[in-house]
Symmetry: C2
Subunit: 283 residues, 2 copies
Amino acid sequence: MAEWFTEQLAIVPGMRAQIEVTKKLASERSQFQKLEVYETTSLGRMLVLDDVIQCTEFDEQSYHEMICQVPLFAHPNPQKVLIIGGGDGGSVRECLKHKSVQEVHLCEIDKRVVDLCLEHIPSMAGKVTDPRVHCHYEDGAAWAKNHPDTYDIIIVDSSDPIGPAEVLFQFPFYESCRNALKSDGILATQAENFLLHAKIIKELLSFGKKLFPISRYYYTQVPTYPGGMIGFTFFSRKHAHDELVDKRFAESGIKAEEFRFWSVDFHKKAFTLPGATMRDFYS
Amino acid sequence: MAEWFTEQLAIVPGMRAQIEVTKKLASERSQFQKLEVYETTSLGRMLVLDDVIQCTEFDEQSYHEMICQVPLFAHPNPQKVLIIGGGDGGSVRECLKHKSVQEVHLCEIDKRVVDLCLEHIPSMAGKVTDPRVHCHYEDGAAWAKNHPDTYDIIIVDSSDPIGPAEVLFQFPFYESCRNALKSDGILATQAENFLLHAKIIKELLSFGKKLFPISRYYYTQVPTYPGGMIGFTFFSRKHAHDELVDKRFAESGIKAEEFRFWSVDFHKKAFTLPGATMRDFYS
């Protein structure tokens, strides 16, 4: 029997999404949050944390490819990656596509997210058991603070700035991340929707401007997220997003077909926002 | 008292949007369809036809600027424009921003759409009474067929291919539009979401390839549409979308601030789709 899951979007007043679901595969409350996995009518399996849709099999590739491949292809030689959050495993899968990557440290505060996704959504989470992956079930902010000058790439694959992820949208965390990066490191973070959350994004960009020579915002389409898209900050200690991407892709040995969304062209264009948003964010 | 308007999306199974509304400003049934106008909590006023959201004051600029400004700035000297559908007036407003445009013919089958929007959403519809605008309350497909070699630009600002707009998604209509264009004319049409309706879009592109030397698809963000975006076909008899845009904007006398979404860069970027979609649509 199908019924409708209704998302309660605390950060978008007056709009909400409904997804038709056929079966509740898991439902529990961990030390940190409420976790649910559903089978849906037309979007594959779906992970929900504290009543907010985190990902569906239908469109998670867009989010995970774009949060990971943009910093990975912008960096000259990414070897050591830190993922903060990301317990669903989609970002781990993307990082492992690069042969240069020797270690992926997954720092997820809630082990139950990893366990549930491994059990119910292996298309996304299955690579978490790869030998190049090291799981740390710890506070990501503390981890970043305690590992200076360690990573080539840091990916902050977090939920919204309400609940356990709130600290990941504050200045001290960005400072720790900058310090945890090597001198040519790149930080990419989940950074909401530029039409619905411009105020949050401008605050993140102001943190970036204080800490990094390159501080930009980019975005991609995710139909099941509020407003149908999601954006990311791109904070880089040395290289611009489009400086190395052609050469890096050509030399990577990765085929274009390994990505559903990411491409060299889509990478470059993801940084072009509508006219008024460009003026608002950058002038 | 606020309540939730639930969209029933016939063309997207398993997903639907809910918008919080505070007042129903109009509700009637015309000869062609059911029409409703609502006041919403956070999106301004909203037009709904046959239970499908057509536009809100919050994000209609994205749709109307991009369906109109892309062909207008791609054309060397647009003077005579035909809008098929578009009774909400948003496309009329966009076309009139160009001093070169001498006549806008609005061919909307349902006069009640125009009347209701003029009354309740003047921010969008107010320019319909401009002396350069000629309203024809007639069948757009027949109008295009009966006016060969007449227009510089045709904009098909239609609802979805279910109900009165069904004929606007079929080959004979595209043939009529090609013939109604002058030899350097451009046709832009509402063409759905590339992640949810790839099959419809590929059929439209196959029509375009038979009729036009240039046949492309582009898109923009519209948070209140299914999946948060909408795309358009760009079918041109002579000029590519990016051939003249820099020069045309520089010479137009229009300020960047007159647009919330359209810009020269956003115009160019709108044609770059995710990797798999580019391969699917163009190879």
